[in-house]
Symmetry: C2
Subunit: 206 residues, 2 copies
Amino acid sequence: MAKMKLYYSPSSPYARKVRILAIETKLDKKIEMVNAALTPVAPNADVDKHNPIGKIPALSVKGMDLFDSPVICEYLDTHHKGRKFFPRKGRERWVALRQQAMADGLLDAALLARYEGALRPEDKRWSDWSKGQMKKVDGVLDALEAESKALKGKLSIGTISIVCALGYLDFRFATLDWRGKRPKLAKWFSTISKMPSVKATVPPPA
Amino acid sequence: MAKMKLYYSPSSPYARKVRILAIETKLDKKIEMVNAALTPVAPNADVDKHNPIGKIPALSVKGMDLFDSPVICEYLDTHHKGRKFFPRKGRERWVALRQQAMADGLLDAALLARYEGALRPEDKRWSDWSKGQMKKVDGVLDALEAESKALKGKLSIGTISIVCALGYLDFRFATLDWRGKRPKLAKWFSTISKMPSVKATVPPPA
């Protein structure tokens, strides 16, 4: 397998999914990491060349550029010989893909709230928008608490995504206290945070 | 297979992906359609029950609710006996998933621009944000034109997604003239728009 290039940033929770999976599958040695900062109003020309949507992560591999994080992760998962992080079929697969969709959906909403409160000029902020996005974040957190039994067991793309989503909340929404009403989710996150691949990819100090 | 319920709206381009796939796979007869309107600032309680992110489409099936559109489409594709719209493996699969990611990425950006220009109070609009999102739309359109050869052949989840993305631009950004610099993409879209499943799911008059 030719060397792959991953466009990422240390603070991107979507890129963190790829980085954790790469470590878990030992593909990290075959990936050259390219640190690329950007925002929706300050694109990165190098990233734009590899992803027309202008987002990270993007993976450059054998004459093809792959994105977004679910596609990159599934691609990597077909290129190693160990246990699979995308269950191949049946209920297990839908549980994992649904968990990934919940975590990514939480992140999409949290990032929009973050852009609203930190990137957008103060006089153009709309509190209804931020509230609407944070309601989505809360909804996913409640669903994850209610379904915490499904978090048990070996790491999957679903639980990797959830780790990255919760880690992002600690990183950018430190005052949110998402743990307060969700003791099971909090306990699971505390345990899984000790895994070397999770520790190695913690976002830098905010 | 028990009856499934699809939460959708006639104007949602993501839900349209599911509706086209359902028609193509003849699963549409097994799906009860529930019309559910919402925006990020005006959620829909019925949808929230089935998708904690509060977005459509959501598919309720056998004690499990599935989302987002890529997960629903892949699920449906495993529940019919005809030709598969998600190529099972190899380069064909990555081409299709990458096309889907491009189309969905175009849509994510176009919807944010639409919310900015139509939903947000006028005095809180930020032109840099809209420009940044429309730059993503343009980037994907240019990439699709450059890769128009990959559009040929039988319908896949990739090309279904692209049809829905381009259809959304005609629906909500009628003055954009995306065809001007992209004759190959325009020609392909014009041909594929004659397919019965595509015709049957055209958004209502804006």
